[in-house]
Amino acid sequence: MKTNSFRIVFDRDILGKTVHGGEQDELALANALYEAGLDDCSFLIDGGEPCLDCDVENAQSLKEAVRSVLRRISKCGKPFRVARLEPGNLVTPSEIARRLGVSRQHIQQLIFGLRGPGGFPQPFCRVSDKSAVYQWTDVVHWMQAHQYLKKAEIVKNAEEMEKLNRNLATAVMA
């Protein structure tokens, strides 16, 4: 049975603003999500952000799985606002290695042309003089072109997730 796994990160404003009120607000949110049929997802607070970790079975694609969860969220009766979906499209070399199940050293060697055909995608940006960030869609396209990917659906999922995130600007959960 295929499982599509992803994370929905909500806008922090849905949490209570006060310390004491916040705990009950969080429980109310967790219960509301479960009652909306999201018993295949786990509600949690990660780094101060309210999140829903989803493991959706029986969906034909990642896009369908995400839409299924968003539909159920919309029926919660709570003002959930989705900030972003994860896995996101911006990745460090360490994250590239983790997603592909290879060592960071392997990725660094590909980046610097010490292994493989060279021409690794250009960084999307740098967060410091030494820290490069890449677009995951660029990376997987390059990987696929040079036959490094074991699963073709990695490219499709990357493209779908990036498109869903770009469309989120117009998505309102009410």
Partner: protein, 86 residues
Amino acid sequence: MPRGTHPKKEVRDAVEYAKEHGWRVAEAGGGHVFCTLLCPLKSREGHRFFVHSTPQNPGNHAKRLKDLVDKCEHNDNQNQQGEEEP
């Protein structure tokens, strides 16, 4: 303390795993949430996980909890995460 023990072994094991890393268990007070697990950081910025009483897939639910515990930087066994180097 939460009412009784969780009916699913995978979830019980994951809760114990969290407690071994210094996480605290808070009573949920009813509803679908069995208990809330709070990471060692005693502030609103700490991690929290809401354990379902009847998760659809206990294995996945337990794994999500363990994943959060593993990445938490406030654990008693702290993970050192430095800045990314090229």
